[in-house]
């Protein structure tokens, strides 16, 4: 016990990977064993991260539960882990969604061993990004997470999976190329990858590099970081991999992709871009806000135009993640003001909330797809009387996504909009315009969500699903168990957000 309490973060981080290695030695054909083993293995980090949550002291500045081990001494990189309020909420989200996604995958019967192992490796990869306090370690985990996701899409995905998985891989790797180079540059300049040291020195760095003024290099490096993270978020116009990857991925893969992987990008903005490039972020905040607003508006329009239920949900991620970046851009404009803090609180909470609602939505799409083998909205219709419980859950989750007051999406989107509008009114008028346009986008959020509900649940019933062998069956207990924790959190944050906002806000006040 003593070991765990002093190595809490590394235990959470490496437990899934070790469990995956143990799985290697399980017999090949025992699908049930693989599933339960993976579920149990993913519950351990969840419980440990609850311990982490309750032992975390939000009013203390800086990182907690820090651990440091030599890793690559030759280039000054070490396995340095630590969490603050920002990363803690993301760690909790990851460890919560992984067991849920694994439980959601219980319907998979094809090569369960490899599938579950990849999922556990994926969890380690994602957690590593959130815990890393070393730039190189951050990058290592950032890239490592790609591999399991690639194979999950490529092997267990639907018809167009080859195209989608390669596009996902090449897009993300291509996007991170600039990040890789910028990370190398920072390493060469400072002889260390320690995030705190680099943050202190880089923002004050002025000496020319290779005969080129530092400001030029900083601008280029800033955009290298931004593009890497913008691809992941994804920000318009870097989003085109997302609808493909989401649509083709297996259900649980989409849940994790939308629930956690997109947050890696937003987290990168918060953890690296804002602290490392305060001046550049302020200078280019307008451009970022523009892209964010474009993502909000086009994401909503794109979503509204879909006839594929899963694609509709996929585009909604572009729309919702746009609010995260809008909040970040507003904060970059007016760093240090109260408005900026409100916007950031909203952005971080929106990351958490979108994780819950998007995972839920993708799961619900998966539930109906498994029964009907179609995702075409035109082939549904009037299913509510056939599956009342499913319908109720779908409406509930959709409403969270829509931003209905009383559910979690409202809180975070309100905070983002309030913050960025405040920035607009008090300091940078253009932000007010952007906020107003974003509100129009929000209107279409309502439109596409209602469209989705209408096409699936309401309208004239498609008789095809009412009788005979195609008769639609109700959502089963396992699937309800998957949804319950998500729904509880959605409601809880909607009604009483301060348990999590407290942690986030204190981190924001200390960080920015």
């Amino acid at each position: 016990m003593d070991f765990i309490s002093t190595h809490l973060l590394s235990t959470i981080l490496f437990f899934p990977a070790l469990a995956a290695l143990v799985m290697l030695f399980l017999p090949k054909d025992e699908a049930k064993l693989h599933k339960w083993f993976a579920l149990a293995a993913s519950l351990v980090p969840f419980v440990l991260s609850l311990v982490l949550w309750f032992n975390f002291d939000p009013s203390q500045p800086g990182y907690q539960f820090e651990e440091m081990y030599t890793w690559y001494a030759a280039i000054g990189s070490s396995l340095h882990l630590g969490v603050d309020g920002l990363s803690l909420s993301m760690v909790l989200l990851t460890t919560l969604l992984t067991p849920i996604a694994i439980l959601a995958s219980f319907s998979i019967n094809d090569r369960t061993k490899a599938y579950m192992m990849l999922f556990l490796f994926l969890e380690t990869g994602m957690l590593g990004v959130f815990m890393a306090l070393d730039l190189l370690i951050f990058f290592v985990f950032w890239e490592v997470g790609l591999v399991p996701m690639y194979f999950l899409i490529n092997q267990w995905g639907s018809a167009n999976r080859n195209y989608a998985s390669l596009k996902f891989m090449i897009y993300t790797m291509g996007g991170s190329l600039g990040l890789l180079l910028a990370v190398q540059l920072l390493g060469v300049l400072f002889k260390t990858y320690d995030l705190q040291t680099i943050t202190e020195q880089w923002s004050a760095y002025t000496a020319p590099i290779g005969g080129i003024p530092a400001s030029t290099f900083k601008t280029v490096a800033f955009w290298a970081f931004v593009i890497a993270f913008a691809v992941k978020v994804p920000l318009w116009p870097f989003h085109t991999w997302l609808p493909d990857a989401h649509t083709e991925a297996p259900t649980a893969g989409s849940m994790i992709l939308a629930g956690v992987l997109l947050k890696l990008g937003a987290y990168g903005f918060l953890r690296l871009v804002l602290p490392l490039y305060p001046a550049e972020a302020k200078y280019f905040a307008g451009a970022l806000a523009f892209l964010a607003v474009a993502a909000i508006v086009f994401g909503a329009f794109g979503s509204y135009a879909q006839t594929d239920f899963k694609r509709l949900v996929a585009y909604s991620s572009v729309n919702h993640m746009g609010f995260v970046v809008l909040g970040i851009a507003a904060a970059a404009y007016a760093a240090g003001t109260a408005d900026a803090r409100i916007a950031l609180n909203g952005a971080i909470l929106q990351m958490f909330n979108h994780g819950l609602s998007a995972a839920g939505m993708f799961f619900l799409v998966g539930v109906i797809y498994e029964r009907t083998h179609t995702r075409n909205l035109e082939e549904f219709g009037g299913l509510f009387p056939l599956v009342p419980v499913y319908g109720g859950i779908l409406i509930f989750t959709s409403m969270a996504s829509l931003g209905l007051p009383g559910l979690n999406g409202f809180i975070s989107e309100f905070l983002v909009v309030r913050g960025s509008f405040g920035v607009g009114v008090n300091s940078v008028p253009v932000m007010a315009v952007y906020t107003a346009v974003a509100m129009l986008g929000l209107l279409f959020t309502g439109a596409y969500i209602l469209k989705g509900i209408k096409k699936v649940l309401h309208g004239p019933m498609n008789e095809h699903w009412a009788h005979g062998e195609h008769k639609l069956t109700e959502i089963n207990t396992r699937e309800i168990i998957v949804m319950v924790p998500l729904m509880v959190l959605i409601l809880w944050i909607g009604l009483y957000p301060s348990w999590i906002l407290d942690v986030i806000n204190k981190a924001v006040v200390m960080l920015f």
Partner: protein
Amino acid sequence: MNFPVLSAITFTPMVAALIILMMPSHRRNETRAVALASATFALLLSLWVYFSYDQSLGGYQFVEKYNWLPALGISLHFGVDGMSAPLVLLTGVVMFTGVLISWGDEDPHVKAGIQDRPREFFAFLFLLAGGVFGVFVSLDLFMLFFFYEIAVFPMYLLIAIWGWVVTREYAAMKLTLYLFVGSVVSLVGVLVMYWTQYKNTGILSFDMLVMENAGFSQALQIAWFLPVFLGFAVLGGIWPFHNWSPDGHVAAPTAVSMFHAGVLMKLGAFAALRVGIMLLPEGAKYWSWLIMTFAGIAVVYGAYIAFVQTDMKYMIGFSSVSHMGLVMLGLSTLNRDGLTGAGVQMFSHGVMTALFFAVTGMIYDRAHTRMIPELGGMMKIMPFAGVGFIIGGLVSMGMPGFSGFVAEFPIFMGVWQKQWLVAVIASISIVITAAYIMTNIRKVFFAELPEKLHGHVGDITVLDKIAIVTLCILMVGLGLFPGLMVPMVQTGVENILRLLGGA
């Protein structure tokens, strides 16, 4: 500890080659067993050297010196430093796994591995291995040359006799001509160095530790660096002299491809470093921009050509050009990070391509084709080989957590310190590599098994699996724990930096 371990390593394969030649040719399995036993012995010795090398002392260790031809100043002078010890280990590993995968399966339906005259095959292969060990441990320039030629010459026979019927004669001849021309050019440079030293100091010696202090003038260093460096670097597959290498890889039988790409190309890079950079440091500084340009082109061009190949072996062959370009890129930086990365990349790439060629050979032996469009579904038939190839692919892409990243990262850091533009351009290769590796993996291992291959393609043997596991453990182990090798390479780099005047 007085056991002459380096001589033992060098001469074990050669003695084994003699013993194998004396065995009756119909005792095929006994021949293979002797080969495996001596390869294992060499591997154990190289592991011993690797792990008992004292990193805190650095410098040359396990030194042995015997007079050979004192009148000309030639001696059998052996020793390893942090740069060569990993390469000795690499050679041991490739030799061991190469024998394992050549064992094959005598079943006429499968006929994998080497079934045609295994006795002569192993004898030549071991002669080659002995030559390779000799180059890595030689501290005497003459001996280095001697072993270098011993390593190159069996290559011709191995390819021409056991190679791919379609191109083996062409490829063997091309390879041999390229390499001999390269080494002759280097030899002239070496002789110039030898006589200049005699003129300067009155010492007749090929000993490299003596030659370090020969006081070559700057003009001589600048004039002779390029011939010496490039002459050796031909074997390292440096652009634009890389042309022989993909042809040679493709034509060679599996174990020889493993040796060829895994070890032989390192021989070129290593000799270019030892003789070119370490003995002519001023020339290296003067010409580093040119080497860097060549290497930068090789990195991107090699990756791009690999991307358009449809023959798996050609694809891997060109990816080797790209990855050896990274080694040369690291060498050309002449700074601590770049050289360290180059040293680690030599090991990492050796293990990786050995694995690639091994798996490709296993597929070819069973499916009788290497054309990517004609293959598919191998993951179901040989899952072990599939997973191995995927791990190799991740190394090749420079994925963090695997040895390729550990090696490439410092190389890029070194390049940043020299010329940032090259780093930016060379980084493009990472994405191209990812694209062709992923496409290849998807097509060969996951796509539908073609009609033609149904039925007659079977799984790999246990020995094949042992070889794959050995190689994978090295790549993952080094990727997760760079401390296993990097500090050792750094001790070797310190010595190079000292010769370069502490750059």
